[in-house]
């Protein structure tokens, strides 16, 4: 069986950053990246629009450019990687079974970093009635078919979902000569960034229909149209508001789900809210020596944050591979999401590693003028005000050394939100 210090599963932005960071720290440079696609870079390869790297590189890059900066370093450092290789099993003992055209590989890792990313929710998952003709895509499928393979996927489209991906695809389709009839959003607000609403919809005159849903898809062989309707505050269809829109293409961009099928096989505890593993501030999962980062952990809106998080996971994975004893007798303080907060990551603070970290979280609704507080044993450790908070935008708070020094370790750390 082949042996590595750190094996990273997934060669997207999270996996690349984690591998590079592990590699930097390790004396024995046995690091391996396993990627199921043909190329490293993950889904960034199909995101040819700009807007990546503003925080991390302080410049605006496209997805492939952003990925390339990391791929380059992987290649320069001669970090080992396998492409077109699919991991089919991980055990709690950190044995990996991977398969490719050459055969089946069994690999023993001292530490593993999970960086498998996420998948898209589908038309079926959100239970959209109607027929099942050709012409129904997820945004990611469309992106791959258009940007990488070079095909047009229709003439007239309706996009369901106004998160950043939906908005960006509205612009992308338009630039490809596909008429986007509307972007339909069930919520009363878009979860996309303001700048994307302006640059992707307003600049092209594409209507954004808030509080609307597709109530029926029409067409026998190819999509012939959709019926949309207004919804009330309970997201229920309002009678007699139905309207038919003729189109031959429907694009669903209705959310992402972390891909944790392998994590389950390794017996890792998952967080129902994030869909990803429960981790502590070392990004260690419930299985010792298995770490997680990127969209497999929780869905991010900026790749820059993925990189930062993955670097920490990679660093601790390397430390674990050299000094697993440091992770013995882990004692954790729970970090708990309360009023107004949907989830927090990490969900725990490891007492063996009381070091500053960034707490990332999402709120559970749209809020105007609210205060977010982090408290412990009834004492507010940190608070900040914000004029607008939306579930679509990930929030973060730095937990500094100063804050950590005030902690009462026998009590939970609580994150909550209050309207002003």
């Amino acid at each position: 069986m082949e042996k590595y210090k750190v094996v990273v599963i997934g060669g997207g932005p999270a996996g690349l950053a984690a591998a590079l960071e592990s590699f930097k720290i390790l004396d024995d440079k046995k690091v391996l990246i396993i990627e199921r696609d043909k190329f490293l870079g993950g889904i960034l390869n199909q995101c040819i629009h700009p807007g990546f790297g503003l925080h991390y590189f302080k410049e605006e890059l496209t997805g492939p450019e952003y990925a390339h900066r990391f791929v380059e370093q992987v290649v320069e450092n001669r970090i080992e990687y396998l492409t077109e290789t699919h991991v089919i099993d991980i055990t709690p003992e950190k044995e990996i079974v991977a398969v490719n055209k050459k055969g089946l590989k069994r690999i023993k890792a001292d530490a593993i970093v999970l960086a498998m990313g996420c998948r898209e929710r589908t038309r079926g998952a959100i239970i959209t009635p109607g027929t099942r003709p050709a012409g129904i895509f997820t945004a990611g499928q469309a992106q791959r078919l258009i940007n990488i393979e070079g095909y047009r996927i229709g003439k007239k489209a309706v996009i369901v979902g106004s998160g950043d991906i939906g908005l960006i695809m509205a612009r992308r389709l338009t630039l490809e000569g596909i008429e986007v009839k509307a972007v339909v959003e069930i919520m009363p607000y878009s979860t996309g960034l303001r700048r994307n609403i302006v640059q992707c919809l307003d600049d092209f005159g594409i209507p954004l229909l808030l509080s609307h849903k597709v109530v029926k898809i029409h067409g026998k062989y190819r999509v012939e149209g959709v019926t949309i309707a207004k919804v009330d505050s309970q997201l229920q269809e309002i009678p007699a508001t139905e309207r038919f829109i003729e189109c031959d293409t429907v694009l669903f961009s209705v959310g992402l789900i972390p891909e944790n099928e392998l994590s389950k096989k390794a017996g890792i505890v998952l967080d129902i809210k994030t869909g990803g593993p429960v981790v502590d501030n070392t990004f260690s999962t419930s299985q010792k020596g298995i770490f997680a980062c990127g969209n497999v952990l929780h869905v991010h809106d900026l790749v820059d944050n993925v990189t930062l998080e993955a670097q920490i996971a990679g660093r601790y994975a390397a430390i674990y591979s050299q000094h697993p004893e440091l992770f013995e007798n882990n004692i954790h303080v729970n970090i708990v999401a309360k009023e107004g907060i949907r989830y927090v990551v990490p969900q725990k603070l490891n007492k063996n590693f009381v070091q500053p970290f960034v707490l990332r979280f999402r709120v559970d609704n749209f809020y105007k003028d609210a205060i977010v507080t982090v408290s412990n044993a009834g004492k507010v450790l940190v608070e900040y005000k914000k004029s607008i908070l939306t579930p679509g935008e990930m929030e973060s708070i730095e937990i500094s050394q100063k804050i950590l020094s005030q902690l009462d370790f026998s009590n939970d750390i609580v994150v909550s939100l209050q309207n002003i």
């Binding site: 077109e84 055209k101 998952a125 095909y151």
Partner: protein, 479 residues
């Protein structure tokens, strides 16, 4: 084009394919005409996938006879054709005294139909054996010989085995005219092809009434009756291990909750008469009805687990029994129509019955070369690691995973194409690529690529299920 056959079947659904395969047991020139580009494009691809025990149909009906006969031989057929079949048993659950009386009726009817092993089980037994079911259930009728299978895979398997044994099949052949020329029927397609045949068997499903009319045979009416379903993601632990029915009404067997042979959970169907025979749309109302009724039996059901919804159409005849008979006035024209539930269970028995009738009518000899066995495509997901290693050595494409949810390898897709898959749905039904929780999110572009490469046609010519179901509309640049 003009070919001459002894027997021709119209319609490549499970009944048509069953008859076709059984006919190849005899030395006959046989053929099937199918209007779509693949088999199982109608009711055979969208139903409950249940092998019924036979306590539902009224005694003396064709439904009762073929259901019980079909159930008896189902395991053997699936064994020969390498198709999944699990005899998981079924429960009809009753919520009150009235429904318990119905269970008693079903039990007696089942006994009269010759169904073995039926028993009414107590509430305690139900909770012990199916602990996730509603605590409001008072009793249940247990049928140990009910089972689950894969209806479209069985149709594909019957098709492959029939072709292996010499049958012809002509796709995209939409029958529009039937004439008589001496001893032969001349069957014309919408695009001016025709074939000649001595015996013509009508297995046109929901369109069987129209075919019968074209042949100048008996006039009857098929009413399309739609049922809507949900498929749930593969759970870590199955919430039910048997097929759970509710007490039937005059509209049918009602909403069921069942495991599938692939490890998903299936719930449905409701029942509604519709106007359009092809209207396989789902509706909010229908889906809501199905979910609420299913939740009554299994309270833990969650919409979060839904991966897709679909609807299927039953071919309900106006006489409420299968129509299986040679026409009184048109000799050698046989209607096999109105095969609604328990049609899947009955299909293999109907196939045998018809093949025996037709072969004796034509004085056909036994085909001594008939081979009843067909092997399914080797599935990566189902093999042990040792077997996987061996397969990859032989076929490196077996190590290239295309569909990550269902672990479908490129080899499986290539094999499906070799065996006749031409469309995305054809690949999906034969291999499960695209049937998992991401519903083709990752593998659709790859499957398009493989189909285009293997069939040597441009990607823009690849369809979801034939005709105008194109996925890509225009090529913008060379890759």
């Amino acid at each position: 084009m003009s070919r001459i056959y002894d027997v021709t079947v119209i319609g490549a659904g499970i009944v048509g394919m069953s008859i076709l395969r059984e006919l190849t047991r005899y030395r006959l020139n046989v053929c099937c005409l199918e209007k779509m580009e693949d088999v199982a494009e109608g009711a055979s691809k969208a139903n409950s996938a249940i092998v019924h025990a036979g306590y539902d149909p009224i005694e003396g009906t064709k439904k009762a006879r073929f259901n019980v006969e079909g159930n008896n031989i189902f395991a053997d057929i699936c064994n020969e054709l390498d198709v999944e079949y699990k005899m998981v048993g079924s429960l009809v659950v009753a919520f009150d005294d009235y429904e318990i009386n119905v269970l008693e009726e079903l039990l007696q009817r089942g006994k009269r139909n010759g169904v073995k092993g039926l028993e009414i089980k107590s509430q305690e037994w139900v909770f012990e054996n199916e602990p996730n079911l509603s605590r409001n259930i008072k009793a249940a009728l247990f049928a140990p010989y009910s089972g689950i299978t894969n209806p479209y895979k069985l149709t594909v398997a019957l098709f492959e085995n029939a072709v292996q044994n010499g049958a012809d099949i002509i796709f995209s052949f939409e029958v529009c005219k039937i004439e008589k020329d001496g001893d032969y029927f001349v069957v014309h397609s919408a695009d001016s092809r025709f074939i000649k045949t001595r015996v013509l068997i009508n297995c046109a499903g929901v369109y069987a009434d129209e075919i019968s009319k074209l042949a100048g045979a008996k006039l009857f009416k098929i009413y399309p009756r739609r049922g809507q379903y949900y498929i749930l993601d593969k759970p870590d632990k199955m919430p039910v291990t048997r097929v759970i029915f509710q007490v039937p009404t005059e509209k049918g067997k009602g909403i069921l909750v069942a495991p599938t042979v692939d490890g998903n959970v299936l719930i449905g169907p409701n029942s509604e008469y519709i106007d359009d025979k092809d209207d396989t749309a789902t509706t909010q109302k229908g889906l809501d009805e199905v979910f609420e009724k299913a939740k009554k039996v299994l309270p833990s059901l969650s919409k979060r687990d839904v991966i897709t919804t679909f609807s299927g159409i039953r071919a309900t005849p106006d006489n409420h029994d299968f129509i299986i008979e040679e026409d009184e006035n048109v000799e050698n024209f046989i209607n096999v129509a109105g095969i609604e539930s328990p049609g899947l269970t009955s299909s293999v028995a109907i196939g045998r019955y018809i093949a025996e009738k037709v072969s004796s009518k034509l004085n056909a000899k036994r085909n001594l070369n008939f081979n009843p066995y067909r092997e399914d495509i080797k599935r990566f997901l189902k093999l042990s690691d040792e077997e996987r290693v061996r397969m990859i050595k032989l076929y490196p494409s077996f190590g290239n995973i295309v569909c990550r949810c269902e672990l479908v390898s490129e080899y499986e897709i290539l094999e499906a194409i070799k065996r006749g898959a031409r469309t995305i749905d054809g690949i999906k039904r034969r291999t499960r690529a695209g049937m998992g929780r991401c519903q083709g999110g990752f593998c659709l572009p790859r499957v398009i690529g493989i189909l285009s490469r293997e069939l040597k046609i441009d990607k823009t010519k690849i369809t979801k299920f034939g005709k105008n179901s194109y996925i890509l509309t225009e090529k913008r640049w060379e890759e």
